[in-house]
Symmetry: C2
Subunit: 149 residues, 2 copies
DNA sequence: AGACCATGGTTTCAAACTGAAACCATGCGA
DNA sequence: TCGCATGGTTTCAGTTTGAAACCATGGTCT
């Protein structure tokens, strides 16, 4: 479970997060958690994955501090799985994924789930990346700089 | 390769993109492609993955229209792999991943690669998600709305 | 108490996937 | 012609996946 990328360059800033998340199922679990799901059974029903797999993925998310268990909530003798701060930090990633999906995986007229502002129900804008001076920048406008200097 | 999530609800707006990407390796390939890598050998050296796996992942990325092959460039008799429009659309996702990594996987003083503005070498800002009215919104401020209405 | 059931897992086992290494193919240049 | 660089494919053992069966705990009903 821990040896997916044998950190050859001690794992770059993209590989390390990927390794922590684990796999796609984990990300779908996190998404469901953002949607308010908390119980083992809820995740299982929502995602339709095998219980052993769900169990392993939750364990991994706990181990990486992305989710944590809390004793109960409604008095039932079970525990619930909730996002940690670190887990909630995945929100922009999920939004990016969703917006990419909207752009390239749905016909213009095809109905799809929409991420909307709670305040007024209007769809949110696109994610935007800005430079220090406030310009919106894309891939072409940026580059990675090594730790160095 | 195509049956990772047996689209139970015909696959939501998050699962469908995930399915197309394939796996973590694919995302690392895309990241390398953003960094200018184009050749089979370059990807293999950079990522250190087995050639058969790289071959399979590239095939998958091609099949999903995320990358495409172009005849040559420097006259060599080989093809190069470049991002399509769809592939370039993954930029925000990679940025999200990178920023999450910066937040939770590096010590404050630990050196790490930085995404900078080409124009002036300054680090870019954080990704931001805004509502229609311009407010910056987080997970708590949003919800998903079903196709319905 | 005893039977039953809901929830949340673990175990088992066959099939699929992964990845290291060996092999193959093509197009050079010496 | 030989040798080599590049870009793959094939082979095969080891790992992972996932469906199904099983197990455990605690509550409910009678």
């Amino acid at each position: 479970m821990a040896k997916r990328v044998s950190h050859r360059h001690s794992m770059c800033g993209v590989a390390r997060p990927l390794d922590a998340i684990g796999d796609w199922w984990s990300l779908l679990i996190v998404r469901d958690a953002f949607d308010g799901l908390r119980r083992f059974g809820e995740f299982q029903k929502s995602l339709g994955l095998a219980k052993n797999i769900l169990s392993a993925r939750l364990r991994n998310l706990l181990a990486h501090g992305i989710m944590e268990t809390v004793p109960a909530a409604d008095g039932s003798p079970y525990q619930e799985y909730v996002l940690t701060e670190k887990g909630r930090g995945l929100f922009p990633l999920l939004v990016a994924l969703r917006q990419w999906g909207e752009d390239f995986f749905f016909e213009p007229d095809e109905a799809h789930v929409l991420l909307v502002d709670r305040k007024n129900g209007l769809p949110v804008r696109r994610l935007e990346l800005r430079a220090q001076d406030g310009r919106i920048v894309g891939a072409e406008d940026t580059m990675v700089r090594l730790p160095s200097a």
